[in-house]
C-alpha cells in the first residue's frame, strides 16, 4: 500500500526518531511510504489556543497537501484528532463549505498509527522485539478523540521480549494540553507529578504512548527528576527488531542510568 506520512511538526522538529521509526516499520511491513514535503503543521496549536483564523491557512495547506493520497498515517493521536475533529470546523467557521467537505474527505483517510496497523492492515504482531519492562500511557486524544481503545496494547502484547505492566490511573491526563503547560504551568506540573508517581510505581524502565507531545512532557519531568525511566514513542518499539534494536529515548537526558528504585516524585512538588 502507498502510505503518505503526516509527520506532524513536533515529531519532525523535536522527535524525528518517532517518525523515522514509523517509516521503517511501515516499509518493513511491505508498504511504500511517501513524504509530501510541502506539509508543515495541522494547526491544532492555533485552534486550541484560540486562533482559528490563523489556523485556517494551515488547514487549507494540510488539505491541499494530503488530498491526493488514499491513505495518510501519523504517529500522533492528537494531530489525527485535530484533522478529524477540527479541520472541517475551522473551515465552516470561516464560511468555506467546500474546504470543509474536502477536509472531511482527507480526515476519513487519515489514521493514527495503531489504528492503521490494526484496522486497515489487520495486524497486531508486527514482528517487533523489545526486551524491556514497558508501561503504556493512553494519551487523552488517542483515548477520547480517536477511541483507539486497546489497539496499542494489542500491538505491545505481541512484541517479543516486552514485559507490559499496567499504569495505575492510566486514563488521567498527564497535564500537557499544549499551551496549557505554559498558561497553567503550576497545575500542569501538579498533574505531571501524579502521572510520574504512577509511572514509577510500575517499575517500568520505559513509558510509551502514541503521542510525542505527551511523552515530551512526561519525559521532561522524569529527566528533571533523574528518575531513570525513558519515554519512547510506540512507533519506536514497534519498529525495533533483534537485527535493528530501537535507538534513543524521547526527551531524556543521555547517560542517565536506569534507577528502578527512584524516589517518589510526589515529594518534590
Amino acid at each position: 500500500m502507498r502510505v503518505a506520512l503526516f509527520v506532524t511538526c513536533l515529531a519532525d522538529t523535536m522527535v524525528p526518531q518517532a517518525a523515522v521509526a514509523t517509516v521503517r516499520l511501515l516499509e518493513r511491513l511491505g508498504h511504500e511510504v511517501v513524504f509530501p514535503e510541502d506539509q508543515t503543521c495541522c494547526g491544532q496549536m492555533h485552534v486550541n489556543t484560540g486562533y482559528p483564523d490563523d489556523a485556517l491557512r494551515l488547514v487549507r495547506r494540510h488539505v491541499r497537501v494530503f488530498a491526493p493520497y488514499d491513505v495518510v498515517v501519523a504517529p500522533s493521536g492528537s494531530c489525527v484528532g485535530s484533522v478529524r475533529h477540527q479541520h472541517a470546523m475551522v473551515a465552516r467557521r470561516a464560511g468555506d463549505e467546500r474546504l470543509a467537505v474536502r477536509a472531511e474527505d482527507v480526515a476519513s483517510r487519515t489514521y493514527e498509527l495503531s489504528e492503521f496497523l490494526v484496522d486497515v492492515l489487520g495486524v497486531t504482531d508486527v514482528g517487533a522485539y523489545y526486551p524491556h519492562r514497558v508501561t503504556y500511557h493512553p494519551t487523552c486524544h488517542s483515548l477520547r478523540m480517536l477511541r483507539v481503545g486497546d489497539r496499542p496494547l494489542r500491538l505491545l502484547r505481541a512484541v517479543r521480549g516486552l514485559d507490559l505492566v499496567e499504569l495505575p490511573e492510566a486514563e488521567q491526563c498527564c497535564g500537557f494540553g499544549g499551551t496549557f503547560a505554559v498558561k497553567n504551568a503550576d497545575t500542569s506540573t501538579a498533574m505531571l507529578a501524579d502521572k510520574m508517581r504512577n509511572v514509577l510505581t510500575t517499575r517500568a524502565d520505559v513509558c510509551t504512548a502514541g503521542d510525542a507531545s505527551c511523552l515530551m512532557h512526561i519525559g521532561g519531568g522524569l529527566s528533571r527528576l533523574r528518575a531513570g525511566v525513558r519515554t519512547v514513542h510506540l512507533a519506536e518499539i514497534l519498529a525495533s527488531t533483534e537485527a535493528e534494536p530501537a535507538g534513543g529515548a524521547v526527551a531524556t537526558m543521555p547517560g542517565v542510568p536506569c534507577r528502578p528504585d527512584a524516589p517518589n516524585p510526589g515529594g518534590t512538588r
Binding site: P16, D54, S223
Partner: protein
C-alpha cells in the same frame, strides 16, 4: 420583561452575584495547589464519587441511549425556549402560582426581597440552589435585613464558615470532618462543646440546629432542578430531606429558576431522573424527589412564586456553539472527573460554577472578557465530555470560547508569525534549521524566557535532534 430589548441579549451584570473571580485562574490555582490539605480532601472525595458513580452507571444497559435522549430533549427545549416558558407561565398561573420574569441578578434579588417583605418575614429558609448562589441572593437578603438560613448540610457548613461553595453538588467538598467540627464549634449556636468529628454526630448537631428553623420560618426560597411546561410542575431533587421540609412547611414558597431548567413534558422527567443521581452522587435513584404544582388550599405553602431568571442565559442561547452549556443539569459529573478541578478545587474558578462546566458557562454568562482565563483552565483531555450525562461537548465549547477571548498582543503576534512560517515550507524548514532550540533554551531549556519558563521550571526540554525528520528524509 421590564427592560426594553435593544439588540443582542445582555450578559450577567457585574457587581452582583458570584460569577466573576477576583483574579485569573492561574493565580488562584497556584494558591490552591499549595494547600496540601485541600489537595488531599479533593483527591479523596472526587476519587470516591468517581468510583461510586462509575459502578452504578455500569449497571444501566441503556446508558448511551439515555444520554442521547436527554440531549435530544434539551436541544429541542433550547430551540423553542420562549414558547415553552410561556407555556410554563400559563400552567403555573393556572395552578395558583405567580410567575415573575427577572432579566438579571439585580432584578431577581429585588423581586425575592420584595416578596419576603410582603410576607412580613425577616428570615427565610433555603434549599440549596445554584441559581440563588449565582445571583448572590443571600447577600441581597442580608442587606435588606432578612436572614437567609441554608438548610442543606454542606451549604450550612459553607454559610457558618463564612466560606464559599467549591463544588456544585458538594459545596463543602474542600473541608474534611475535623474542619467541619471546628466550624460548628465556632459558629453553630448551642452546639455541644464535646462533639466529636464523627459524621453522624455532626449531622445530628446540624439537624437539631435546623429543626427550630423549619418549624418557625414562614417563607422558603428554593431553586428548581426541573420545571414541566405542560403541567407547571416544579421539581427539586436532594439527599437529606431538608428540601422537602422547606417545600412543604412554610406559608410562602419562592422558587428562583434559570430559564433553561424547563422541560417540555412530564414524560421527559423519566430520562433526567434516571441520569441525574447515577451521574452525580452515584446513587441508583434520588433519596428525595419533591414535586409541586402551584398551591393547594389547606395543604403546603399557600402562596407560590416562580422567578424565571435570565442573567445572561439568552446571550448564551444566541451562540449556536456555546448554547449547549445550557443543557447542564448541574450533576457535577464533569467536576469529579476533571484532573484540573481535582487539583485546584472550585474556588480557583472564581464562580459558583466551577470545573469544566463552569469554565464554559461562567464566561458565557458574563461575557468572555470578564472570565477570559477560564476557557484555558483545561487540557482538553475530554474526560468531562465522556462523563456528562447530557453529552455536552465541553472541550469544543472551550476551544470555541478561546477563539473569542482577548489575546495577549505578544502571543497573537507570535501565533500569526508561526502560522505564516508554517504556511511557507521553505521558511519553515529554514526556521527549523536556524532555531537550534538548544542555543535558545540553554541547558535543559532552563534559559527560556517567560512565559515559556513556566514549562522549564519543572521539566527538561528534550535534547534537540541532530537533524529534523525532513533532513533525514532528504538525505536517505
Amino acid at each position: 420583561m421590564t427592560r426594553t430589548f435593544l439588540g443582542m441579549p445582555a450578559t450577567a451584570p457585574p457587581g452582583v452575584g458570584h460569577l466573576r473571580g477576583d483574579e485569573p485562574f492561574p493565580a488562584a490555582a497556584r494558591r490552591a495547589l499549595s494547600d496540601a490539605q485541600l489537595r488531599r480532601n479533593l483527591g479523596h472525595a472526587t476519587a470516591t464519587i468517581r468510583a461510586r458513580s462509575g459502578a452504578v452507571i455500569d449497571e444501566v444497559p441503556d446508558w448511551p441511549q439515555l444520554r442521547a435522549a436527554a440531549r435530544a430533549v434539551k436541544t429541542d427545549t433550547m430551540a423553542r425556549l420562549p414558547e415553552l416558558l410561556e407555556q410554563l407561565e400559563t400552567a403555573v398561573t393556572r395552578a395558583g402560582g405567580t410567575v415573575h420574569w427577572a432579566a438579571d441578578a439585580v432584578e431577581a434579588n429585588r423581586i425575592v426581597t420584595d416578596l419576603v417583605r410582603a410576607a412580613g418575614a425577616d428570615r427565610v429558609m433555603k434549599v440549596k440552589s445554584m441559581a440563588t448562589q449565582e445571583i448572590g441572593l443571600n447577600e441581597a437578603l442580608a442587606a435588606a435585613g432578612i436572614e437567609p438560613v441554608e438548610t442543606d448540610l454542606a451549604e450550612l457548613i459553607v454559610q457558618l464558615g463564612d466560606d464559599r461553595p467549591s463544588h456544585i453538588l458538594v459545596p463543602a467538598i474542600h473541608r474534611n470532618r475535623a474542619e467541619i467540627r471546628e466550624i460548628f464549634l465556632r459558629a453553630m449556636p448551642g452546639v455541644d462543646p464535646t462533639i466529636s468529628d464523627e459524621p453522624a454526630a455532626l449531622a445530628a448537631a446540624a439537624r437539631r440546629h435546623l429543626r427550630e428553623t423549619f418549624l418557625s420560618t414562614r417563607v422558603a426560597v428554593s431553586g428548581a432542578n426541573f420545571a414541566v411546561a405542560e403541567t407547571g410542575a416544579l421539581a427539586v431533587v436532594e439527599s437529606e430531606g431538608n428540601g422537602r421540609m422547606c417545600l412543604t412547611l412554610p406559608e410562602t414558597l419562592i422558587t428562583v429558576m434559570g430559564i433553561e431548567k424547563v422541560v417540555p413534558t412530564w414524560r421527559d422527567l423519566e430520562i433526567f431522573l434516571q441520569l441525574l443521581p447515577r451521574a452525580s452522587t452515584g446513587e441508583r435513584m434520588n433519596p428525595y424527589t419533591s414535586m409541586w404544582t402551584g398551591v393547594t388550599p389547606g395543604d403546603g405553602p399557600q402562596a407560590f412564586h416562580l422567578v424565571l431568571l435570565d442573567n445572561g442565559r439568552s446571550a448564551v442561547l444566541a451562540d449556536p456553539v456555546g448554547r449547549q452549556a445550557l443543557h447542564c443539569i448541574r450533576c457535577s459529573a464533569c467536576l469529579n472527573v476533571c484532573p484540573v478541578y481535582e487539583r485546584t478545587g472550585g474556588h480557583a474558578y472564581g464562580s459558583v460554577y466551577p470545573g469544566p462546566i463552569g469554565a464554559v458557562l461562567s464566561p458565557q454568562l458574563t461575557g468572555v472578557d470578564d472570565n477570559a482565563s477560564l476557557p484555558y483552565a483545561s487540557t482538553l483531555c475530554g474526560a468531562c465530555y465522556d462523563a456528562c450525562p447530557v453529552m455536552i461537548d465541553i472541550p469544543s465549547i472551550l476551544v470555541h470560547l478561546r477563539g473569542q477571548a482577548p489575546h495577549p498582543r505578544a502571543e497573537a503576534t507570535a501565533m500569526a508569525a508561526a502560522a505564516y512560517t508554517m504556511d511557507h515550507p521553505a521558511l519553515y524548514a529554514a526556521a527549523q534549521r536556524a532555531a537550534k532550540l538548544s542555543r535558545l533554551a540553554g541547558p535543559r531549556g532552563r534559559g527560556l524566557p517567560p512565559p515559556l519558563s513556566g514549562w522549564t521550571a519543572s521539566r527538561d526540554l528534550p535534547e534537540p535532534p541532530a537533524e529534523t525528520f525532513r533532513q533525514w528524509w532528504a538525505d536517505r
